[in-house]
Symmetry: C2
Subunit: 156 residues, 2 copies
DNA sequence: TAGGACCTTGGAGTGCACTCCAAGCAAGCG
DNA sequence: CGCTTGCTTGGAGTGCACTCCAAGGTCCTA
């Protein structure tokens, strides 16, 4: 058995802290192994390495033997990436954002635009979901009523 | 050129009618070809055939030569499927729901549960999105401010 | 009755976001 | 010293939801 595949995090643990500033080590002693980062983020080690390969992570520090040592800054970045991922933003776009950050201050404008676009997408998605919620509720009410009295098949 | 690949519907056409009861033919003359359904739903013909193959559509009526003839009922079903898809429900679950419908009235209870679970998922997703929205807004404000005055790199 | 647009099928291919594998080095412990 | 556990790499594999293809049959209009 290799590589402990995440902590079997099912849908139900959405209340697990968003691994915020809790149980972090102070800046200066912030040298987390990949498995610690797995515990913090809920991502798998595979995914963390993959993020690095595709350029979604700035190159992570290494120990003298070549093992990854993540910093608090890296954790912050992963936190942001996690949020962006929740918005449904494609990985390619997140990589683009990461590139802009690497390129320096002069890309502020472009980053701003990218985030604003994402914001619009999120708003649209929320509206969409609220719309489906209405449909769902109509159907749910139908089945709830039908549970009481026998009804005329095929919903409404 | 074969098989007109959708009406190049970009993200921006979310205001296109959800192909509701508009321009439908009255029950009795409701025999739509696959390309008409493509126009109504925004799905591709490929996808419509695929939905049928995997059991997500009840078997669609055929003309005497074997061509698909969709009914108003089929359109209603596709409307619902579209909504469920927007919730992010996996296709496999939608197929399950379709099976329950085929099995008849005695599956009302199970359908009710399935929809209620979906509803919870949607609510959770909305909450999640609203959370990411807050993060996004903080970042956007940061960049908006930074646009005015030169700032200390690497966001906040 | 000819031409082109449209439709049929099974099966293979695509793109995304992981996910896993094998082979091998490294650190800590009894 | 050997053992276990954890880490490294490039590359291959997976699952989902389509998406496309080839070869052929059908419909409609001039």
């Amino acid at each position: 058995m290799t590589e402990t595949t995440s902590t079997s995090s099912t849908k139900t643990d959405s209340c697990a802290t968003p691994f915020s500033t809790a149980n972090r080590r102070p800046d200066g002693q912030d040298h987390y192994t990949i498995s610690e980062v797995v515990a913090f983020t809920g991502l798998t080690a595979h995914t963390l390495r993959w993020y690095e390969r595709i350029g979604l992570m700035p190159h992570v520090d290494r120990s003298h033997t070549g093992q990854r040592r993540y910093s608090n800054r890296d954790l912050d970045w992963l936190d942001l990436v996690g949020k962006l991922r929740l918005t449904g933003m494609p990985v390619a776009d997140m990589v683009r954002y990461a590139e802009l950050v690497r390129e320096g201050d002069h890309t502020y404008g472009e980053r701003f635009e990218l985030l604003k676009t994402t914001r619009e997408d999120v708003l649209a998605r929320i509206a969409e979901l609220q719309d489906t919620l209405a449909v769902l509720d109509r159907k749910i009410n139908f089945y709830a009523d039908a549970g009481q009295a026998p009804a005329s098949e095929r919903s409404r």
